[in-house]
Symmetry: C2
Subunit: 551 residues, 2 copies
């Protein structure tokens, strides 16, 4: 039986494109000392050694460079999967081997937990070759253990020392890179001789800023989602009888929904950041959709596509308050104890009695099943399980009810039948697009150069991403530069500031200028599946978001 699909076999031979500056020896050019995006003093206190480091840019070395002594390096995949992780690792491997063929690379297994628990494997050329240009994180696995405590740092140091590892590359999202910076500072100020480099990963696209243009995986994942959304749009436009409500992964920002909207031109797309900025109620969100359904329906167009960001309901102010109130009420130990032995019906009554009038009013607007979910389904900490709420069904149910009312008032004469989809797992482990394959390989290759420079607390940075890859700029950004202080669980914490959809940014502006037309007309675009071979304009296309941001 085949062990690899034919596409995988062919794709293994793809040689990712590298920025020209990284072909051969480089030298580092340092900029001026940097500052964090906010809370300078607080961040400086938390990162006494690595705060304020300069930005670093590589240029070609103007004279021959001596081969550095061989080193051992460790690598960790942290958090949710994103297409291209394997290419960061293969780029890192090739970059290290180019510096000194005796360099060795170790992978810690199943995420940061592998460092703490001393589970690792050596990544040799044979292993790396099996994973070039493939999706998934299965080469060493990933996990969600947070590296935060001194005990974890010290436990990790034991195995790093034992393996003679002097540099660790952590591939992760904003939280994982924040922790990479904490680890970097701790190891540096304790003179352990271990440097830490981060790499920007997340399909959600919310790890980006002036220095980091995009996180890897966003490009591929949104292309997979756009492929299937486009297929559904074409089905919708052929059958002409359903409204498809499509929820897209991404809880804390709506970059994925926005990118997919730009790629597929659906009839409606909700951007959570706009809902919050306009302080919209759930009814207003529902009315917005219902109006489009009615306007089309009254012209005989009883079909359409609606895109919904997974995190929407946490951005609706009234629901956000309700959830906060529920979490606080059940966070109280005596309340938690009180409901432990109650029947669901008693629990319901008990919780209802503890809510404010405003929260009750919000609750009463919701369909019964959602209200019950909020009242009854909790995680072990007593928190509402927001991710279990089927927002796509919630909205279609409420839209259906709204349309029924409009029909009574003769404002709607169409028919409404809804179908539901949720896309997330379909895209996180796709084989990386050429863009992500190239970008990730460059991030990893560049990380090897950062290690070779002897720096720590930097994130690997490759920029100018809508230009041809040969012109991409490579270097390193001090992670502290992206940080501010946020209050989480009643504590001040340093965190990399999350990039939400910028309502003044070009991608949103383009969307906003077109959405009325897309609502009325059937202006669907069908991007089709990711192509790995063929014309460059098909295969090497960057995301629309990145394109509009830079052009």
């Amino acid at each position: 039986m085949a062990k690899k699909s034919i596409l995988q076999q062919q794709r293994a031979a793809y040689q990712p494109k590298l920025p020209a500056v990284l072909w051969g020896p480089v030298k580092a050019v340092l900029g001026k000392p940097t500052e964090s995006v906010a809370d300078h003093e607080a961040i400086k206190r938390l990162f006494p050694v690595t705060y304020g480091l300069p930005e670093l840019t590589f240029v070609k070395a103007d004279e021959p460079v001596e081969q550095p002594a061989a080193i051992n390096v460790g690598v960790i995949l942290s958090g949710g999967q994103a297409p291209g992780g394997h290419n960061v690792i293969s780029g890192l491997f090739d970059g290290l081997k180019a510096l000194n063929p005796d360099n060795r690379l170790y992978g810690f297994l199943m995420g940061p937990g592998g460092l703490v628990n001393h589970n690792y494997v050596e990544l040799t050329g044979d292993v790396i070759d099996e994973y070039r240009n493939t999706g998934g994180f299965d080469i060493i696995g990933s996990g969600r253990t947070k590296l935060e405590t001194v005990e974890q740092f010290d436990k990790g140091l034991e195995i790093l020392k034992k393996l003679g590892i002097t540099a660790l590359v952590i591939i992760g999202g904003d939280d994982s890179n924040t922790n990479a910076a904490l680890l970097a500072d701790y190891y540096e100020r304790n003179n352990t001789g271990v440097r830490v480099i981060g790499c920007p990963k997340t399909i959600d696209g919310d790890l980006k800023n002036e220095q980091i243009e995009t996180s890897f995986g966003f490009d591929t994942a949104t292309k997979v989602y756009s492929e299937v959304i486009g297929n559904i749009e074409r089905d919708c436009n052929s059958a002409k009888k359903y409204w498809h409500f499509i929820k897209l992964m991404g809880r804390s920002a709506s970059h994925i929904a926005l990118e997919c909207a730009l790629q597929t031109q659906p009839n409606y797309c909700i951007i959570s950041e706009e809902v919050e900025a306009k302080q919209m109620s759930l009814e207003q969100v529902v009315d917005g959709i219902a109006e489009v359904v009615a306007e089309r329906g009254n012209r005989g167009l009883n079909y359409g596509v609606v895109l919904i960001p997974e995190g929407l309901i946490e951005f609706v102010p009234e629901i956000k308050s309700l959830i906060k109130e529920l979490n606080e009420f059940l966070g109280v130990e005596e309340n938690k104890a009180a409901i432990a032995d109650m029947t669901p019906e008693q629990q319901r009554e008990f919780v209802l009695a503890g809510l404010t009038a405003a929260a009750l009013a919000t609750l009463h607007k919701l369909p019964d099943n959602v209200a019950n979910q909020l009242l009854l389904d909790r995680d072990p900490h007593g928190n509402v399980q927001v991710s279990l709420i089927e927002t796509e069904k919630l909205l279609s149910t409420m839209v259906g009810a709204r349309l029924a009312k409009m029909k009574e008032h003769k404002k709607y004469k169409g028919s409404f039948a809804a179908l539901h989809h949720f896309f997330g797992y379909e895209g996180r482990c796709a084989d990386p697009s050429n863009f992500d394959a190239d970008y990730c390989y460059a991030l990893g290759y560049n990380a090897a150069q950062l290690i070779n420079c002897g720096v720590t607390g930097y994130m690997s940075s490759v920029r100018g991403l809508t230009k041809p890859s040969s012109e991409w700029v490579a270097g390193g950004i001090p992670i502290t530069m992206m940080m501010n202080v946020e209050r989480r669980n009643a504590q001040d914490k340093p965190v990399i500031r999350k990039a939400l959809v910028d309502l003044e940014g070009k991608p949103f502006k383009v969307f906003a200028s077109k959405r009325d037309e897309w609502a009325r007309e059937t202006a669907y675009l069908y991007p089709g599946p990711i192509q790995y071979f063929g014309p460059s304009e098909v295969c090497d296309l960057p995301s629309r978001t990145l394109w509009y941001e830079q052009n």
Copy 2:
């Protein structure tokens, strides 16, 4: 704003490959008279004029052929969408134009209803060029109106006469082709001068037999599903913490599930035909999955992928009986009237009181929400709405309960968390794979030649499909040859015999010989997205089902 995606723009230039025999003039070679697959006399009575026609094969004409007089032709898309429908039409158009540039093609809108209601459009070269090699049926739309009555036939004839149409091509599944045959015979025996040709369409893959090797759309749709299943498998194998229950479209046969299993090598795949053949109970189906989950879980592998054919529960004998009983009970007018004004709770009691002990026993095994769905949710005819039942959640719930029991008895020590997916609409309108683009174009081009021969009641047939397309054999198969009589709604009806998964066939045998290994090991194959450019072994691959059937 773009009207077409970049891939669409590039793909428009693709020239589908045609069997060499169809390059230039052909002549028809007729075989011996044929017989229906069963019920010869009954079928013969129903098709007095078109029964027993010979098979027809095209060979290259050995002498120059005179240009035939110009004709007008109509085309209809019938039933659910399938990738490649537009290429059947563009092939038909090009085939007609090659015969005589003055030939004209009309499309009837939104399915067979367009013929009856006289809604049509002329398909000129400009229109056709917009749709070459694209997915969807949006060029003229599709619909599910069944052409069955003499009134419909006569109403259709009016518009055919008015437009001077002497041949009609109906692109559809088994039912639509059955009706095409009825229409052909009716028009022929009434000397209307209108011929009817069918084309085999359905993603379900259940319209195939010795003469028709596969229906179009199956190849593309299963490739899209396999792409996302492969991505989910890779996610599963990276995160190592979820069991994914994936339901796949296709109610009456499990070809889609089987093909996707062959392409992706999941840990479990249910084949409905096997469940029925082995007379398995729902518990046995659940036990089969639970055992695999437990065996893997006991080795620390708390993850996996299960494929479920949409129609499964109708193949489980006890559920089939239960549904039949419910439908019969509520088909009785007085029962239907009795429940009309009842509350749901009263309805429930009333229906329960009317069921046999066996049906009640089956009902009690089901989770409450499914039992309620069966008891309460009905279509306007009083029938249980089987397609609304979320079989993937039903099974995971029951598997979870079974595992909890096994844990009590110390037979299972793993953890079980399930995620659910349903793939259907994602694949029906994808841009056709090269295989479907070529096959469909050939079917349409060939249909023009069948029309030119003057035959009626034939299905366009292109064979030898795992050979290079230049070697494909083209011709026509009398539709009556595929028919038998089945009892439907208390009436004997002629129908094309549906092709279920053959438990003695090579595709199933290969699956059956490997499934234990796939259950135990993590042997996932990641097919990746359909490629339209690049190496032929990547782009022109036929389905595994077809490959195993022919090699």
